[in-house]
């Protein structure tokens, strides 16, 4: 295994719920290379979100190493973890998580303001170009609650990408969208991945979504079952998930 952009080695994650200990991840190893468009799939409770949290530096492993962009997260302070998130990772959330009191433009600008690296002119150019890429340059002054779910997720995608991060993490990005809108979002993500070479890691338990990935990492009960092609993964997934709808082709 080469030194990927994300390297996870024998990682265990335990949550303690009172006296009992829940083992969310039990010895997971995974390498993600730059530019991958990778899906983490598995049934509910299998540990998808837990894994993304570790990669996203919002949580640390109980045991094992998580190395993101060359940094071992276990050795970083809270402050350094925050900086790492700000500068190398973009987040897309299942429920969009936009700041409702800020406009579309301001939501996208937010991470740039946190970084405080660019002048306001550069920021403006950057934000506008991203909003154009997600097709929302006409809605810059809107508030999130004036947008549809799909539009909101586009704003979230623009926000995740505005800092030009190495990795974009998306935890079930289409779960709150109808399937058509979901597909459009995945198309957008995919095209951005192809244009910019940004690494995308997204979780799903929906095999329609898995199809978009270059590779699918299948999780079950806190363990990686394997890293497979989407077709294989979908075939495996049919057996364990709810009755599959007729498979639709990716765009």
């Amino acid at each position: 295994m080469s030194n990927g952009i994300v390297t996870i080695q024998d990682v265990e994650k335990e949550y303690s719920l009172g006296a009992t200990v829940v083992k969310a991840l039990r010895g997971v190893s995974l390498t993600v290379e730059k530019g991958e468009f990778i899906s983490i799939a598995g049934p509910s409770g299998s540990g998808k979100t837990t894994l993304l949290n570790l990669i996203g530096c919002v949580d640390t492993a109980t045991r094992g190493d998580v190395v993101v962009a060359g940094k071992n997260t276990a050795q970083l302070s809270e402050r350094q973890l925050t900086d790492l998130r700000l500068n190398t990772i973009g987040f897309i959330f299942q429920s969009f998580n936009l700041v409702s009191v800020l406009s579309v433009y301001q939501n996208v600008e937010f991470p740039l303001l946190l970084q405080d690296k660019l002048s306001s002119g550069e920021r403006k150019k950057r934000v506008e170009s991203l909003l154009e890429q997600v097709g929302l340059n006409t809605h810059m002054k809107h508030r999130p609650n004036e947008l549809s779910g799909g539009q909101r997720q586009r704003v979230a995608i623009a926000r995740a990408l505005v800092t030009d991060p190495l990795i974009v993490l998306a935890d079930e990005p289409t779960a709150n969208l109808d399937s058509q809108t979901g597909q459009a979002i995945l198309d957008l993500m995919k095209s951005l991945n192809q244009q910019k070479g940004t690494t995308f890691i997204f979780s799903t338990h929906d095999h329609k979504v898995m199809r978009y990935a270059n590779a699918v990492v299948r999780l079950a009960d806190g363990k990686i079952l394997g890293r497979e092609s989407p077709e294989l993964a979908v075939a495996h997934a049919v057996g364990m998930d709810a009755p599959a709808a007729p498979v639709q082709a990716a765009s």
């Binding site: 979100t49 919002v58 949580d59 925050t82 959330f93 800020l102 301001q106 946190l114 935890d171």
Partner: protein
């Protein structure tokens, strides 16, 4: 950095719009700030105007008095008593030391005290006049205006006074008859008095006057004068002071009637308010008050107080009737009959009719009263030019009588109607010292010398009374105080001469400075230096062993000076309660808001916001809330104050004249309360939000991943 602050402000403003509870908090902060700025501003203005009143009327900027005094100095009295101060005898030294302090303009020696003055009843006064006339006729001296009269003129005046006395006796007899007619009050009439009245009513009694005028007068004095009980005791509070310095230092003081006391001379200026309120003929005073009230829009028909005044005026005509002799009575009856178109022949009924004032006829009757009645009677019990006999208990426990000439009346401009400022009259230092009766060491020595020379007895305190009233006691009197009561000791003629002499005498500044005083006002060039100069005075006093205590005008005015502070404390308590409630609500609201915004805050943390930013975000939100609504409160408060300043606030009553330092309070908007308000708001908002803000910083970025609950 700047753009990040802008972002946080933007978030803060927008979050404020979202939550309706912020309106409640805002309203509370607005109200609290408004109350604080408005009432605080009013209190500040009040305090400043009161400062003008106190500083300008009696206290000066700083008061000094002996540190060994029993009481603290309370210039306006404390619980109705004057404070017991230890006398200061080294004024020249003190003055020199304090005048050297930078910023001191003048040191004005003072002593506040009070005494009863009797303005004798009408029969006393008439008898005294008659006695003077008789004495002048017999060539026994007396006032110049009498001794210069011819015998015929004196005879005529004596005759007129006799007629007046007989008129008074007739009125008294009438009173007694009426009392006898009533079974209940009949017992109250002393048969002894009745017998005396019967006797002096007869012509035979008066036929004997020429044979023995003084004996006749003595009988009247002993038997008839006591029947008239309307002797008035007037309590006169006075401040003994260096009158020239006083007039220069307290430039709001103005002479209302008469003139200032000539430089260096003995004499007094009576407070014009006391002169009007307590020394004026009651009927005239009531008419004045009704006139004032009508000018202020009140009406007799519906106003209980004014109705009472009219009723009292109608029934209490005796004060006037008693003052007139037969001649004047007849004159006035005629004049009133003409004026009122009445056929009534009894003067008291005519007066009663004249004084039956209504809203319609008031002005006419008022003018008639002042045209027909007042020229024929004594309008004031004490007039400019009178020599008042002031009785006071000296420090050594004796009653002393000191005669002081009244040169005029005075008031402090703007405070003409204020009883607080106007309750104190002014007296020269020499007379004050006589009344105070303190013996300085060298004066005592001097007195001893004189006594040795004349072979007079030294009167010890214990047996003074026996000595003084004992047979042939011969005691020396001294203008400067001693423990001897000179009035009792010297024969009347001698006394009179000596007093005339005293009244005319001009004292040097050294004589004025060299003697006892109780306190002194220190006038400054700049009122803002009070604290510094007080410290300096204390230091100088310690260095030179002067034993002084220096206090600000505020402290010196006793309870009065504390009133504003009491109100200020009340205001602070009220505002503190308002802001405390605001703090609790802010704390709760921000706690709720933080819990509600868990996901947003988690998201911000996840995408790279440090804890500090979250802390700032929550704090800024309530600071913005506070400053925004507090700002509106400040603007409104200042606006209202400004609007009030345009017209001023009218003093609702005479007491407030003092606090308003005039008829109107002109509030001023100062930055002081605004700055304090801002500090309070910042403190309140930050302190009340600190816990929720800290809580917010503890929200884990993991919360971003979790679906909304």
């Amino acid at each position: 950095m700047i753009s990040r602050t802008v972002l946080l402000l933007r978030i803060a403003f927008r979050n404020l719009m979202v939550s309706p509870i912020n309106l409640l908090i805002g309203a509370l902060i607005l109200f609290g700030t408004l109350v604080f700025v408005l009432l605080g501003g009013l209190l500040d203005s009040l305090s400043r105007s009161m400062e003008r009143s106190v500083v300008g009327s009696l206290a000066g900027h700083i008061q000094i008095y002996s540190a060994a005094s029993k009481d603290d100095l309370a210039l306006y009295g404390q619980f109705g008593n004057d404070s017991d101060l230890k006398a200061i005898t080294e004024f020249p030294k003190i003055q020199e030391a304090i005048s050297k302090i930078d910023g001191v303009q003048m040191v004005v020696p003072m002593g506040v005290s009070g005494a009863l003055i009797t303005s004798g009843n009408i029969i006393d006064l008439t008898l005294e006049r008659l006695r003077d006339l008789v004495r002048a006729r017999a060539g026994q001296g007396g006032r110049e205006e009498l001794t210069s009269l011819s015998k015929e003129e004196l005879d005529a005046q004596i005759h007129a006074e006799i007629l007046h006395l007989r008129q008074i006796i007739k009125v008294l007899r009438g009173d007694a008859d009426r009392a006898m007619a009533d079974m209940l009050s009949a017992r109250a009439v002393d048969p002894h008095n009745l017998e005396a009245l019967h006797r002096v009513e007869k012509d035979e009694f008066w036929d004997g006057f020429e044979a023995d005028p003084l004996g006749t007068l003595e009988f009247l004095e002993n038997r008839i004068a006591p029947i008239v009980t309307d002797t008035t005791l007037i309590f006169l509070r006075y401040v003994g002071t260096d009158l020239d310095k006083f007039q220069h230092s307290f430039d709001r003081m103005k002479v209302m009637k008469g003139q200032a006391v000539p430089a260096g001379q003995r004499g007094m200026l009576i407070s014009d308010l006391i002169h009007e309120e307590q020394m004026k003929l009651k009927t005239a005073r009531r008419l004045d008050k009704i006139k004032d009230a009508l000018a202020n829009g009140r009406v007799i028909a519906t106003d209980d107080e004014l109705k009472r005044f009219v009723k009292e005026n109608r029934s209490q005509t005796r004060d006037i009737v008693l003052q007139l002799d037969a001649l004047k009575t007849a004159e006035m009856v005629k004049a009133l009959q003409d004026a009122l178109g009445s056929k009534e022949t009894e003067l008291d009924h005519l007066l009663s009719a004249l004084l039956d004032t209504t809203d319609e006829n008031f002005q006419k009757r008022y003018d008639l009263f002042y045209a027909l009645v007042t020229p024929r009677v004594r309008l004031y019990r004490v007039n400019v030019g009178d020599v008042l006999t002031i009785k006071a208990f000296t420090r050594s426990g004796y009653v002393r009588n000191v005669n002081v000439k009244v040169y005029g009346t005075f008031a402090f401009s703007g405070l003409e109607k204020s009883m607080l400022a106007g309750s104190t009259s002014l007296m020269d230092l020499m007379s004050f010292r006589d009344l105070y009766g303190y013996l300085t060491a060298d004066k005592a020595e001097e007195l001893k010398e004189i006594q040795k020379d004349t072979g007079a007895k030294t009167v010890s305190r214990e047996n003074a009374e026996a000595e003084l009233f004992g047979e042939g006691a011969e005691v020396v009197a001294e203008a400067t105080p001693g423990i001897i009561d000179p009035d009792t000791a010297i024969t009347s003629t001698g006394r009179r001469l000596r007093e005339d002499d005293l009244i005319k005498r001009v004292y040097s500044q050294k004589e004025l400075d060299d003697g006892v005083m109780l306190n002194a006002a220190v006038m400054l060039k700049d009122a803002r230096q009070i604290d510094r100069v007080i410290k300096e005075i204390q230091r100088v006093s310690d260095e030179q062993n002067l034993g002084l205590k220096a206090v600000s005008w505020q402290k010196a005015s006793g309870l009065l000076g504390q009133i504003i502070n009491v109100f200020r404390v009340l205001l602070f308590v009220a505002v503190a309660i308002i802001f405390f409630i605001a703090m609790i609500i802010i704390n709760n609201a921000m706690m709720m808001a933080t819990i509600q915004r868990t996901q947003v805050i988690g998201t911000m943390r996840a995408i790279g916001a440090q804890r500090g930013l979250i802390l700032a975000m929550v704090l800024i939100e309530s600071v913005v809330l506070g400053v925004l609504f507090g700002g509106i409160g400040m603007l409104t408060g200042s606006g209202v104050l400004g609007a009030m300043a345009m017209k001023g606030i009218a003093a609702p009553n005479d007491v407030m004249y003092f606090f308003f330092s005039g008829p109107r309070l002109i509030p001023t908007v100062t930055t002081g309360p605004l700055v304090i308000a801002l500090v309070i708001i910042l403190f309140v908002t930050v302190a009340s939000t600190f816990i929720p803000a800290w809580m917010a910083t503890r929200i884990s970025p993991l919360r971003a991943m979790q679906a909304d609950e």
